[in-house]
Symmetry: D2
Subunit: 201 residues, 4 copies
């Protein structure tokens, strides 16, 4: 089984923008190289281009709209994040939910640009549904853990095991798990927290 991607979601924390975003991306690059674990970051749209150009790690957008370039004021196109140098995008994060039709359109828009899709879900049933759209990754965030400061893997290892099994039943090859890590962002020493997280995999 391939090792999961660790994706550090910088959200819109002040501690995850500008020079802090660079510092966290650099820690991710160093620790990823040391450990052999794939580690990426998902910064704000504003930091997407500088991070993608300064670091060798995969940089993901936090959201993408499944619309074509055109009359879509205020939207984020796959085209735009491709130009910015992104490797892919989160889709349907619990803080930015989409309709099923929008999720499917976003996955398709990313794939048309050869970008990777990380679809976020909230339980086993929605994970199976997301897997049917054949994204590269499915990330499960049970609502009872969101904002609790407890990581999914620690609090409920069963839900991850079951969801991975469910995802693989629907889509045996193609879709993998991803570990969304946002606790790193506000840490005094993000590198130390990330190194600790990687050591437990």
């Amino acid at each position: 089984m391939p090792q999961p991607l660790i994706l550090i979601n910088l959200k819109t924390y002040r501690e995850g923008t500008g020079s802090r975003a660079h510092m966290i991306a650099q820690a991710a690059e160093i620790i990823g190289r040391e450990s052999g674990v794939a580690i990426g970051v998902a910064p704000t749209y504003i930091d997407l281009h500088p991070l993608a150009h300064h670091f060798a790690i995969p940089v993901y957008a936090q959201h993408v709209d499944g619309v074509e370039p055109g009359a879509n004021t205020g939207h984020i196109t796959a085209d735009a994040i491709k130009t910015a140098g992104a490797a892919g995008s989160l889709i349907n994060h619990s803080e930015r939910r989409l309709t099923l039709a929008e999720i499917e359109a976003s996955v398709r828009a990313l794939h048309a640009q050869k970008l990777s899709a990380v679809v976020c879900t909230n339980n086993e049933a929605t994970s199976a549904a997301a897997a049917a759209l054949v994204p590269e990754y499915v990330a499960i965030e049970p609502p009872e853990l969101i904002g609790s400061g407890v990581s999914v893997s620690k609090a409920n290892p069963g839900i991850i095991r079951n969801s991975v099994a469910t995802v693989h039943a629907v889509n045996p090859n193609g879709t993998d798990g991803v570990l969304l890590a946002s606790s790193v962002v506000k840490a005094k020493d993000p590198g130390a927290v990330l190194r600790d997280l990687v050591s437990k995999l």
Copy 2:
């Protein structure tokens, strides 16, 4: 293969409320009995209770929210439509799109009340995703046909065949197709249009 359900979506047409809703439901009951085809109606919330109590055909809500009874002003609970006598509900109609998390919650809320779920989708990929949620029915409405006055089955028989195959690949037993018919509603003689539709199955 079981015969698909024909569901007459009365939308919010004036021609589909009050006495007209009763007339259409009566035509559905008569023609269903004559032909052996399962025919139901999906009226407005206001007509749900009277139609469910006056006719033997299945009566569906046009939308249901996957929320518990409680502090959810302006929502439609599975509990409320069960009390009104509904057999189930449409979910995620193209005119009332929901997030993936909401669709799953709505299917679950209906099932907790032993009601049937008809999830609407817009293409093969979203049909497969919907099937993973194990609703009783999946109804496909390709956006290029919506509002065109052309029925899905006439314009694009391939998309229906492929989608049914996709649905069955994800969920071999359990989920069936459904034919959403709204052209009946505004017809001068809804019974004649419905009888014609049934004769072509």
Copy 3:
């Protein structure tokens, strides 16, 4: 200054549907007649018609969509709630937020049917904006109080005074305040709670 309307929002509480809805409406009718205070109820869509026909008090929908009768599956039209016998509708409740364009369309749709609009807002600025749409009522629900079990008038009399002043500055004649009361619904003796509330006005 005209006395504010008291509107009992039954939400989708089980304790606010069916026979309980009738019992609460009856209490509202009796206490309203005794006290001279205008008291109405806002039940679920399913209970709208029976309550409007059994009681003399104003019955409001909890939400209305500003769309014409037609191809709007799952929507609530002003036309439908008028037919059901409603006196008006809540719009933009904190549990069912709308865009500014939708709020304006809903107010307009109600007025076209000679129904009353109760626009809900969350602070002074949005109350002033709502008043500019000339609804019959504006109901303020500061987010810090929602779900706290503390009534707006008790916790923060200043916000009500200021908001009423703001509303009147924008729209001197026409728009009045309304007191949304949902604590009545789950009470063991709704009549006693309501009588107590009225005595404090």
Copy 4:
């Protein structure tokens, strides 16, 4: 009366990103200096920072969320666009509608960062409501003109006059009109189209 701001909305057109965005911004800078008319551009989030740093004209975001920096994945904070060098943001564009509560929060978030708010509306009533939130600008886009290729000022000068009067009645000093121009973006020679537009003011 102060001259209105002309704001070129680059939307997500391919012809309005990257080097084309620079070319259009440069034309705006030159023609603005020549004519004395205030001309700004609203590019994608990705182009916000480079344009704001290369040109002296005001650069606006196309949308901003009224949320604090923090756990708001996929959102655009006023903080982020301030850092990128923006002068302000569009809010509630017809292609990115917001709830009334969100519009008010976005205006407030911009003002907290000393940025300008351009609230888009669809008719006189919503313009008056928007003016009550005291943004720097209100931009009216009647739905019958959107996407028609006909400019608001040409097709319906009355609606602009009436709306400006309505805005000023609600908010006599503070809120001005703005002319949203997107036809410039796809033009072969954006500078020529812009120069022509300015000559007609």
